[in-house]
Symmetry: C2
Subunit: 321 residues, 2 copies
């Protein structure tokens, strides 16, 4: 059993050995740029950890981990275009540093390299791996479309919001674990439990993210409190309060959305508290966390072997940053 840090280092080494062609230079420089921006590499490491539960990590496992990371980076490149984001991890995004066309194309080619890695897998579960991956990749696109659609509509029901974050974010974490388990030769039940674990960790993580943005301690999160509120983002808070608001409260919400006054964040947070949204979201996050750990408990390997996965989930769900 290896720790997150050990596997992350292993993965970085494997990624460093992976070379894109030299030409056309702009296309592959763009691919290298996004992959070199770093990140915690949570998805590939989750995939390696899942294989590690059942057998020694092998080339199939590493290829699958890299595939998941390439896919994730492809979605980042395209999402940054759609979101008109100039900066990622303190560096220019691909379409800013290169051009929009090159960003579209480099995302496309990263997606194709993803499939080339998956096609090179020699395990008997290879087709199952690709099938799970395809289902997930389609869901990720659907989640991104829902997220964009939400910008255009006033009231997003909480259920739709939860579905959106599940598709856009959680299923790829789930799939990473599922693929690793499949390549470890796990049985269908264990694959499913690990998938559910990843999915619920993902949802809880996103809820935590929303929570900290509104109620986090700036000295710990390192981010200005209320960023989502200032940007009128449709978070779980927004969906919850618009779901239950009286007419008077709805008017208040609309006024706050339209406001550009200095007390916009403070007033919105007060409304969240009055309407019980802080407790609600906190409990909802806790429910998904508990569901996640229950799913992990069901995986038929020793608690000792699962300790590193549990620690990683705790780190993701508890730490205030």
């Amino acid at each position: 059993m290896h720790t997150f840090q050990e596997l992350r280092a292993q993965f970085e080494a494997y990624l460093n050995d992976y070379n894109f062609p030299e030409s056309p230079q702009a296309l592959y420089d763009a691919c290298r740029h996004i992959l070199q921006l770093g990140g915690k590499r949570v998805r590939p490491v989750l995939s390696l950890m899942a294989q590690d539960l059942f057998r020694e990590i092998d080339l199939n496992g590493k290829q699958a981990a890299l595939a998941v990371e390439l896919f994730h980076n492809f979605t980042l490149v395209h999402d940054d275009i759609m979101d008109k984001a100039d900066i990622r991890r303190g560096k220019p995004t691909v379409h800013t540093k290169f051009s929009m066309p090159t960003a579209i194309l480099s995302g496309d080619v990263l997606n194709i390299y993803t499939y080339e890695l998956l096609n090179n897998i020699t395990h008997e579960n290879q087709k199952k791996v690709v099938s799970l991956f395809n289902k997930t990749a389609i869901e990720v696109c659907e989640g991104q479309q829902m997220d964009m659609d939400f910008e255009e509509i006033a009231n997003v029901p909480e259920g739709d919001y939860l579905e959106m974050i599940t598709l856009k974010t959680s299923v790829l974490l789930a799939c990473s674990l599922g693929i690793g388990a499949l390549l470890g030769g796990a049985n269908d039940e264990d694959v499913q439990h690990l998938y559910e674990f990843g999915k619920d960790v993902g949802i809880a993580f996103q809820l935590k993210d929303d929570y900290l943005d509104s109620f986090g301690d700036e000295s710990k999160t390192g981010k200005k409190q209320g960023g989502d509120i200032m940007a009128n983002k449709k978070t779980i808070f927004y969906c919850y309060i618009t779901d239950i608001a009286t007419d008077t409260q709805m008017k208040q919400i609309q006024d706050l959305q339209a406001s550009s006054k200095g007390d916009k964040v403070e007033q919105t947070l007060a409304l969240y508290r009055t309407m019980g949204a802080d407790d609600y979201v906190s409990k909802l996050k806790e429910e998904y966390s508990q569901k996640a750990f229950l799913a992990l408990d069901k995986v038929s390997v020793s608690a000792e072997k699962k300790a590193h996965l549990r620690e990683l989930a705790e780190m993701l769900l508890v730490r205030e940053k």
Copy 2:
């Protein structure tokens, strides 16, 4: 053996039975929109024709044909964004009708559905099919990047131009045939011969396209003569004449490029003729056509069986539109 028209009708029926999910609506409406714009369906039909040479067309063959068509449409959607094209086949392009983000995403999801279809193939050559497809898909992206890069540089050597059109256009025709042959159970040599046939037909077709734009008969092509010249496009003519130009001729070329006078096309065509570019391109196209038919001759099935493929190639390479 079926004719192009028969297989095209079969393919359209199969495509009509293929349903994308209903939701998210914008995402899948965009997919339906591009697929419903029509087109000759050359790639999927080539794939079916290749399988038809070796065995009866089956579900694997149809899925592969659809995969190739979805992929082609994905590239059209993304290329139209990159080229800022508003109209395709007389209808608004996806990013014009929907939005740029939805166009990016619908292209992405079409690419993923391509792989889902390929993953559903049950033939023993399935991995070979995916491997050939991946190689091709990467080349198509590289070709598109080269095409964009060429816009920024003054002199594009003829060899680079031929490489670009090979990657951007021809290899997908070649791959369509190769995949069909693989799913027909053809041996490696026949797969290769059909691949070469498709590649050379593709190159010859693109050269014909360039030729007709400059020297075609408007009453037959239905397009205004000299469109590429007016747009200063880097065609085979441009690459050829800049490759061999004397200093004086180069000055002439630059002046013509900068010109917006009414005789720009006429003067450029006169220069092409003086420099022998019309004969050169005409012969080059003929060379690739002949190479294509030689490759087809080598395929180890009867000339009778290959007659429909030959007719299709002749239609693509001879007809003036």
